[in-house]
Symmetry: C2
Subunit: 96 residues, 2 copies
DNA sequence: TGAGGTTACGCCTATCGTAATAATG
DNA sequence: CATTATTACGATAGGCGTAACCTCA
């Protein structure tokens, strides 16, 4: 499980369409399909129902979507907290 | 930034020692050092102070530690939620 | 036939482990 | 010299893109 997989999953869930999601993520469909598939495989849970119209979120997927968004938001929060200037010395080569 | 980096960081923070942290993580010191360094570089923030006795958490590191734990807990929660049996069909080849 | 998701294959990057190096006291 | 973190170098695994394939209506 990786943060990329979580981002990919959220995008596919939002678009309901691998092609559109891939476009938004600036990657091609195959790696996106594989990552979603790998995520499902690792979880042991089917997150989407494949239809001729696209990807339909299953109940397990909806529950996971909520938690995945929380994780990604937590990452942003962590980064912001670390970068909060509170007397820490700047790194040489940092964006300072 | 990766979930591995977050796990590595939390372990080093808890041990205050790259060697012990690496042992707990079942990897060797060099990759652990590199991942911590890469994390600091990506954040643009120094998280630890290197001393002859080990790794000492700086203020930015303490703030990040709290948030990193939250992220990792969120991942566990997401997995548990997805696996919550609520009528979802089992995957063929799953761990059933 | 058309739309959409999936699999096969090759390339590139990232990560790991072993060995060697630098700093501290 | 002893301890700890870091860098150099080669091997392995994972991710991406192009091309080809399967499924459904």
């Amino acid at each position: 499980m990786s943060l990329s997989q979580l981002r990919y999953f959220v995008t596919v869930a939002e678009e309901g369409h691998v092609g559109r999601a891939a476009s938004r993520l600036r990657i091609s469909q195959p790696p996106l399909t594989r990552q979603i598939r790998g995520l499902e495989d690792e979880l042991g849970v089917t997150l989407f129902r494949r239809t001729p119209r696209g990807m339909e979120l299953l109940p397990a997927g909806e529950r996971f979507l909520d938690a995945a968004r929380d994780v990604l938001a937590g990452v942003d929060r962590a980064v912001a907290l670390a970068r909060t200037d509170a007397g820490g010395p700047p790194r040489p080569g940092g964006r300072g």
